[in-house]
């Protein structure tokens, strides 16, 4: 009974969320604001992706910005090649390559003339990187904080390589002056409703993919691994494969988010692969509720929204970081399962009343009833 009701609650929750993010543009006339909201939704995708690996599988990936950054560069590379010729060198050579004395387009840039290739690569490349890293890490049974350290180190390495290879990557400046993405005859202007809707639908698709995974038996085994990795082995599951799977799905979704981000920002730079972004994702998940996909996504939207709101309000110019810090501390202290646990608790209470009225023998215990750090 509980499960059915929870999923009904889930459906209602998702419907309300979908409706909210889809009707918002109807009330917003300001393209700048719309662009900003689109960015928040992208952060929602990132947070949901981390919830999948951290909240459900227990892999605290501090290098998620690698996937995000690689995705954004894939998109930026194709958009750069589609920039109107006046800003580029001979034979469509990107401007920064001309400045860096690069004579011809490097081989790995060639395929990015095709937008379709870039879109596939933006997901596939981060997945392959995650697969390789995951293979070494999880096969060797590295666990816990060591996984976080390795992923963080990976992030720093990739960041340095991109900054260092200025001739091919634009170095510190990244890839700027990008064209709009044109797909199926639609021009995805970063400030347009079309781009906003593309991102909103992507977020909803991400959440659906995530829910599909976590509600399957594979998702159940992922949660069992989070609880007691060793025990799972004695039931016949190859734990490393499940960890690599969760790690890769998370990387693919993050890569996709990166592509959208490059479109919305109209540039890609090494700041997308920063430690700061990686840590922010962790905070979003912690605030929203890392054991809930929609909770994490809402956490990202809420935190970045408040951050944006406060930092642009003159009254809070000097104090907004202090306020954000206090908010994090309060949530982590009093709601270890995140803000979503308030909703879950309320829903479970409602469900409890309904069910106990129907059948006395089955007393439902809400999943989020424990408020202890889990």
């Amino acid at each position: 009974m509980r499960r059915i009701f929870i999923s009904r609650g889930h459906i209602i929750g998702y419907a309300a969320f979908a409706l909210a993010i889809l009707v918002v543009p109807l009330f917003i006339d300001d393209p700048y604001l719309l662009n900003k909201l689109a960015r928040y939704l992208i952060f929602g995708i990132l947070a949901a992706a981390l919830a999948l690996s951290w909240g459900y599988t227990g892999i605290l990936n501090l290098g998620q910005a690698v996937s995000f950054g690689l995705g954004s560069y894939c998109m930026a590379m194709t958009l750069k090649l589609h920039t109107i010729p006046i800003q580029t060198g001979a034979a469509g050579l990107p401007d920064f390559m001309v400045w860096n004395n690069v004579k011809s387009l490097p081989w790995f840039w060639e395929p990015f003339h095709s937008t379709a290739f870039a879109v596939v690569a933006g997901v596939a490349f981060p997945v392959v990187v995650a697969l390789l890293l995951g293979w070494f890490v999880f096969r060797a049974r590295v666990t816990g904080v060591y996984v976080s350290i390795i992923t963080l180190a990976m992030l720093v390495v990739v960041n340095l390589v991109i900054v260092d290879q200025q001739r091919f990557t634009g170095g510190f400046n990244g890839l700027t002056d990008l064209a709009d993405l044109k797909l199926f005859g639609i021009d995805f202007d970063p400030y347009s409703g079309a781009t906003y809707y593309l991102i909103a639908l992507s977020l909803l698709a991400t959440l659906m993919i995530g829910e599909f995974v976590v509600r399957s038996k594979t998702g159940l085994i992922m949660q069992a691994i989070r609880d007691d990795e060793t025990r799972v082995r004695y039931f016949g599951y190859d734990v490393a494969r499940y960890q690599i799977f969760a790690f890769c799905v998370s990387a693919g979704l993050s890569g996709f988010a990166g592509m959208l981000y490059a479109m919305v920002m109209a540039f890609a730079s090494p700041t997308f692969l920063s430690v700061q972004i990686s840590l922010s994702i962790v905070i979003w998940c912690a605030v929203g509720g890392r054991e809930s996909l929609i909770g994490s996504a809402l956490g990202a939207i809420l935190v970045t929204g408040i951050q944006g709101g406060l930092s642009e309000t003159p009254a809070f110019l000097n104090t907004w970081m202090l306020i954000m810090g206090a908010l994090f501390v309060a949530v982590v202290l009093f709601l270890p399962k995140g803000l979503i646990s308030i909703v879950q608790l309320g829903m479970a209470r409602l469900a409890g009343k309904k069910i106990s009225a129907l059948a006395e023998d089955e007393a439902p215990l809400p999943r989020g009833h424990k408020l202890g750090i889990g």
Binding site: R2, R3, S7, F212, V213, V214, R215, S216, K217, T218, G219, L220, I221, Q223, A224, R226, D227, D228, T230, R231, V232, R233, Y234, F235, G236, Y237, D238, V239, R241, Y242, F245, D361, E362, P364, L365, R367, K370, G374
Partner: protein
């Protein structure tokens, strides 16, 4: 023919020889009890069978296959289930979910993607919960179960796994007399369908469930036989000297 055979198995932990040429043979369908003084290597014997401890010498043959150097999940898939001394269940998952994880028919990541966590095999899992008296707690988190209930849940998980060979490490540890009786009942029910290797200290429990008892001492097999034979064995008496004989174990 024996289902499980250990031949001269050696296990070392940084110089300490936990098993020193340990031999054991268990026939299919048998319920074998493994006893011995503290430090005799009983738990290590179970660890080495299920792949938790590394074999440093000798062979472990299960159903005709040498599994000495298999990874844990491969050994499990061949049909060996393990219950640990400290009950280890997934505390944040419900009883039902615990049983579902243990119910491993397909081990692959993608094969399991298509299976619903909530709906698949719900009836079978509920029957299993009923078998160990956990029907009322079916949808509760395993973390809130009592110690005894957790032990039973883990046994039910082994049954869900449908392992041919069950390795039970002190299934009655920390149980009240009533709970121990219930566990003995449970073991008797499983007898015949599963081959069982049980490490136990509680002689009352062993007398109730066991046929053949193997006694371990200092990493070796010391004696083997029925309860009466073991109790009168002078070697066994010597090994237990100071602890009041086998009864005081």
């Amino acid at each position: 023919m024996s289902l499980l055979e250990l031949k001269g198995v050696e296990v070392q932990f940084s110089g300490f020889r936990a098993l020193r040429g340990f031999d054991l043979s268990v026939a299919a369908g048998e319920l074998r009890c493994l006893i011995g003084p503290n430090g005799a290597g009983k738990t290590t014997a179970l660890d080495v069978i299920c792949g938790k401890a590394q074999v440093n010498g000798g062979d472990i043959i299960f159903a005709g296959q040498n599994i000495s150097h298999f990874e844990e999940h491969r050994i499990a898939r061949l049909g060996i289930g393990r219950k640990f001394q400290v009950p280890s269940v997934f505390r944040e998952l419900t009883v039902k979910e615990n049983l579902h994880v243990a119910f491993c028919r397909r081990a692959g990541v993608f094969a399991n993607l298509g299976i619903s966590a909530a709906k698949a095999n719900a009836d079978e899992l509920e029957k299993l919960a009923e078998l160990v008296g956990l029907k009322e707690s079916f949808r509760r988190e395993a973390g809130i179960l009592s110690h005894g209930q957790t032990q039973w849940l883990e046994i039910a998980m082994l049954v869900a796994q449908d392992a041919q060979l069950l390795l039970l490490d002190e299934p009655t540890a920390g149980m009240t007399a009533a709970e121990t009786r219930k566990t003995a009942e449970l073991c008797k029910q499983l007898k015949g369908r599963h081959t069982m290797l049980v490490v136990e200290h509680d002689m009352g429990f062993i007398k109730e469930i066991g046929d053949v008892i193997s006694v371990m001492h200092q990493g070796r097999l010391l004696a083997q036989g029925t309860v009466a034979e073991i109790e009168s064995d002078p070697e066994v008496r010597k090994a237990y000297l100071g602890s009041g004989g086998i009864r005081g174990a």
